[in-house]
């Protein structure tokens, strides 16, 4: 969610009326969980449709299993990269180096494509699936991976309406294709019914991917061709990758374990899964999307301003008592935001649990799934706050603690899920809940302790000196860059647009310098009368908010050229990740 903050603050600063708020929320939902929402809706439609169009039960299961496999493994694979790329984009935007953002997409997209194809081929070659179906499955897997990555980039864009539109259109395309294929099905040799449905679903996802990619490519013009610049983050923030991997693994590991439980089934010797458990967990994750949205809105409009003030004060050499005051204010804001989210999410979760008693039978969800859902929704509730804790730990650079927390989550989830298997079917889902609950409590304690020591931590973790030697990943990047010349990358953009892109850059730069001087002046004023930095920025309009980041960055370079703080002071990158749905 690297870029969503600016747009949200702008939107809410323009006017605070109710419709604007709804609009802001809706956009947040779409940008943070668009594909989840769309795919859940489509899956439900598919289920209803498959029931009415007498598709064999086993084929219906195969469809669900395919979608679950594609979603789950694409998440596992892309989540760690999402973590790194989010941080990368946040840093680049912070440093006003927008020209790095676009090329990095090609780089990560290329890597993901390669890995996806490899894993996909290995998977289907070991399964007795028909050829057409295998290709579609690999296709869906690749598309999903690309989509998760693209979504990180989408948040940097300004045109949310188009993004929402793209998602909805993708949904509509899928539904239309389902109907079309029902009327005149493609003649697949085997599993014709499910193949048609999967084809419709894949096509819909592909449509969303292409649509969003076009928006992304057209709207973001800056491009310096440094495709693999981002891989230096594998060593400069080495723990981000495992944090992403462990967190996603922790979220899914109980499903994987349940695939080997008594309620698991194997379809066509290809997919092993536990339909009751998996579907319950999908619904449960859908229930926590509101807390994610709410927290993003709260954090981007309130907390992130305060944390920026804090780090700005650190760089601008404020006194300790001043830093302490800003620290307390930022911590208070954080815990208030969390508390507010807890209240709202608690209400929603309880409401959904109650409603599920009447609702699930309507959707044709079996009783046992509903039982699992009740406890799983509580576990998902905990998970929502684990994610929030991880993100807010990363805001202040506490990567080691975030890693400890997600490792704890992963470990306890494995242990308790295994344990619960012995207790019998009535307790399925409890393992995840116990693990989630313990991790959440542990996380809140960690968060509290970490925000207490943030001043010390901020200073001590700044590198003692800047090493001049290039590290492995930088050398590798240079090599790759020399292989791929900038010309080839630019070939992606049509000629006329390339010229436009240059002009756009010039324009941006000229504007920046002006606003920089402006805000420096206002900054001097602030330091002089030693007034509350936050109070000022509350009044600031949208452009000022954006400028703040320039100033911070500039002064970084000016004040501390010998002070050697790399980007570590600016750790407020915003590693938002979506839960599974």
């Amino acid at each position: 969610m690297a870029g969503i903050g600016f747009s949200l603050r702008r939107m809410l600063n323009e006017d605070e009326t109710y419709p604007t708020r709804v609009r802001a929320w809706f956009h947040t939902a779409m940008v943070s969980a668009g594909p989840w929402i769309i795919s859940i809706i489509i899956i439900n439609i598919l289920l209803v449709v498959s029931r009415n169009w007498d598709i064999p039960y086993a084929e219906k299961e195969m469809l669900i299993a395919s979608i679950i496999y594609a979603t789950l493994f694409s998440q596992l694979l892309s989540a760690p990269f999402q973590m790194i790329i989010t941080r990368y984009i946040a840093d680049r935007m912070y440093a006003e180096e927008l020209e790095y953002v676009k090329p990095s997409f090609w780089g990560i997209s290329f890597i993901m494509m390669f890995v996806c194809l490899l894993i996909g081929l290995i998977f289907v070659s070991s399964r007795p699936l028909p050829q057409d179906f295998s290709y579609m499955l690999i296709g869906l897997f690749v598309i999903m991976c690309q989509l998760w990555i693209l979504y990180v980039y989408i948040s940097t864009l300004r045109n949310f309406t188009l993004i929402t539109f793209g998602n909805l259109l993708g949904g509509i395309v899928t539904v239309v294709l389902i109907v079309v294929f029902h009327q005149s099905p493609i003649q697949f040799k085997e599993y014709a019914g499910v193949s048609n449905l999967l084809f419709a679903y894949t096509a819909g996802m592909f449509f969303i991917l292409v649509f969003l990619l076009m928006i992304f490519l057209v709207e973001l013009k800056e491009d310096n061709g440094k495709v693999f610049h981002f891989i230096r983050y594998f060593h400069s923030v080495p723990s981000l990758w495992p944090i992403g991997l462990f967190y996603t693994s922790a979220v899914w590991v109980d499903n994987l374990i349940m695939w080997f439980s008594p309620i698991s089934v194997v379809i066509y010797e290809s997919f092993r899964y536990a339909p009751m458990y998996d579907i319950a967990s999908f619904y449960a994750y859908l229930s926590i999307i509101p807390s994610n949205m709410l927290f993003i809105v709260l954090i981007e409009t309130d907390f992130s301003v305060k944390i920026q003030d804090f780090f700005k004060a650190v760089v601008l050499n404020h006194r300790l008592d001043d830093l302490e005051r800003l620290r307390r204010r930022m911590t208070r804001s954080l815990f208030e935001n969390i508390l507010q989210t807890v209240e709202t999410q608690m209400f929603i979760t309880v409401l959904l649990i109650i409603l599920s008693r009447d609702f699930f039978p309507l959707l044709g969800v079996p009783e046992q799934t509903r039982n699992i859902f009740v406890i799983y929704a509580l576990g998902a509730f905990c998970n929502a706050f684990i994610l929030i804790v991880v993100q807010t730990l990363l805001y202040i650079g506490e990567r080691n603690r975030a890693l400890i927390l997600v490792s704890f989550f992963l470990g306890t989830n494995i242990i308790f899920t295994y344990q619960v298997l012995n207790w019998g079917e009535n307790y399925y889902g409890f393992g995840f809940f116990i693990s989630g609950f313990l991790t959440m409590i542990f996380g809140f304690v960690l968060l509290y302790v970490s925000y207490k020591r943030v001043i010390m931590y901020t200073f001590l973790t700044q590198p003692v000196f800047v090493r001049k030697r290039e590290k492995f990943f930088e050398r590798m990047e240079t090599k790759i860059d020399s292989l791929i010349s900038k010309k080839k990358i630019l070939a992606y953009i049509p000629k006329e647009q390339r010229k436009e892109a240059v002009e756009f850059e010039d324009f941006e730069l000229a504007g920046l310098e002006e606003s920089l001087e402006e805000s420096e002046k206002s900054d001097d004023r602030k330091t002089q009368d030693d007034s509350d930095v936050q109070d000022d920025s509350d009044v600031q309009d949208e452009s000022d908010v954006q400028d703040n980041s320039d100033v911070q960055d500039e002064s970084d370079a000016q004040d501390d050229s010998d002070v050697q703080d790399e980007s570590d002071v600016q750790d407020e990158s915003d590693e938002t990740r979506r839960p599974k749905s």
Partner: protein
């Protein structure tokens, strides 16, 4: 016995008074083995030894102030200290020289416990000590600059203290500061005698530099000054023998905390016999200035003074003898000053030459330094039978006026940075040949009696032997 000589920014890389003194020491005392341990500012500078080592120099170790650039974290777990160790650290953070140096040095040099400097400077105990210090005297200062001032101060200090020093029977530091610090390490970690020779007063010199420096501002000037005094006093308290070049410096050392019973005066010396005493016939009156062209020698005052002299009489010439590649900017400034004053004819820069060849062509030696310890130039001038005009700094008064003996004056003294006074001293010597002769004779007597090299290095031999 094997002696480890510890130097800072000098022998064998940078020529100068201290370096040539050191070279003479190792060359003279053939009965001892020497290991040279030199601290240099930065590895990136291209440095080559300027001196050819005699056979008894068995090793050269160079430590760079930016050696910390190679450090990585070595400790996984946070640093844990006992209460008494924390107390030692408290005094250390206060730069309080009354700290128990033995405990302090052994604590810091215990890398296993204390970690390397990167470990320590990223450990919470460092921040705790720092913030309690902040609370007691820096609450009006911004935390960022405060933090980085101390961090950069300590990263060098700790890295130097923890660097490997060669084994030896005796550690002999040729200044306090970082060299003295390593001597202290030799004293307490290696448990070997520690001898200290100070040509100037290190802490005073740093203080003067810092007061003029622009890179450090406000309250931090005092902090840096305190830091250097802390290092110096630590060396005074730890050294078994403390040697100064003249009595004034000995008094300063004692006033800073050197135990009087450990302090001795051993002046500089020259090989009196080796210097030519005759005068080669030449028409003009030649004034010689033997120096490195660097700001502390105040060459500009010298040029301005000569300008006044040249306005009075045109039969004078100024030879500036010595290397000018150390501070090229300053040299260029001096050159353009000479050109501006239209003195390109009578003033000559000779560059690096053998001084002994030039001395017979010179009628008097001049020195306009802002600061000096016990300049060899004056002793050499005496040995070559030349009168001296010198600024009244360091032990120049002792040398020129002869406070400790009855040989009488051997030259004239002037105030630093005063071209007019210097010019009138030069003019008075130029116009009085008899006076030049008389002063030169006194100087020769003095140097032969009190500052003969043989005696000086005998004294060091004696000190070294006393440790056996």
């Amino acid at each position: 016995m094997r002696i480890c000589l510890i130097l800072e920014g000098a022998y064998p890389y940078i020529p100068g008074g201290v370096s040539s003194w050191t070279h003479q020491l190792v060359t003279r005392l053939k009965n001892h083995e020497f290991v040279i341990l030199t601290i240099m500012p930065s590895k990136s500078e291209e440095i080559k030894p300027h001196y050819a080592f005699p056979e008894n120099v068995v090793g050269l170790h160079t430590i760079y102030l930016d050696d910390f650039m190679d450090l990585e974290r070595s400790k996984v777990f946070p640093i844990h200290l006992r209460k008494e160790e924390e107390e030692v650290l408290d005094k250390f953070f206060d730069f309080d020289p009354s700290v128990d140096w033995k405990k302090l040095v052994n604590l810091i040099c215990n890398k296993k416990k204390f970690g390397n400097s990167v470990d320590f400077l990223t450990d919470r105990i460092f921040f705790q000590k720092l913030s309690s210090m902040y609370e007691t005297g820096f609450t009006d200062e911004g935390l960022n600059i405060f933090f980085w001032t101390f961090r950069s101060m300590l990263v060098m200090l700790l890295t130097i203290m923890q660097s490997e020093i060669p084994e030896a029977d005796c550690y002999h530091a040729i200044s306090t500061g970082y060299a003295g610090l390593l001597g202290t390490v030799g004293r307490y970690v290696k448990n070997k005698p520690f001898m200290l020779t100070e040509h100037g007063i290190y802490a005073r010199e740093r203080e003067e530099e810092l007061l003029k420096a622009e890179w450090v501002k406000g309250i931090y000037k005092q902090v840096w000054i305190k830091y250097f005094y802390f290092l110096s006093i630590g060396a005074y308290k730890s050294a078994d023998i403390i040697i100064s070049l003249f009595r004034q410096n000995k008094k300063i050392q004692i006033s800073l905390g050197a135990p009087p019973k450990n302090t001795f005066v051993v002046p500089n010396g020259v090989d009196v016999e080796k210097f030519p005493k005759h005068r080669e016939e030449h028409s003009k009156i030649v004034i010689g200035a033997v120096l490195r062209v660097v700001p502390i020698k105040d060459v500009k005052t010298l040029i301005r003074a000569f300008n006044f002299v040249y306005q009075q009489r045109q039969d004078v010439e100024l030879l500036i003898i010595g290397p000018y590649d150390e501070d090229k900017d300053y040299y260029e400034e001096c050159r353009s000053l000479v050109t501006d004053l239209e003195l390109d004819g009578p003033i000559r820069f000779t560059g690096r030459v053998d001084v002994k060849e030039y001395l017979p062509k010179i009628d008097m030696i001049i020195l306009t330094s802002i600061s000096e310890a016990q300049p060899l130039v004056i002793l050499e001038a005496f040995a070559a039978r030349k009168p001296v005009i010198s600024t009244d700094v360091g032990s120049c008064r002792e040398l020129v006026m002869g406070i400790a003996d009855d040989f009488g004056e051997a030259g004239l003294l002037t105030k630093p940075v005063s071209p007019m006074e210097t010019a009138s001293a030069v003019l008075s010597l130029c116009s009085d040949k008899n006076m030049r002769e008389r002063l030169a004779e006194n100087g020769l007597k003095r140097v032969a009696a009190n500052y003969n090299n043989i005696d000086v290095f005998d004294a060091y031999d004696h000190f070294y032997r006393s440790f056996e």
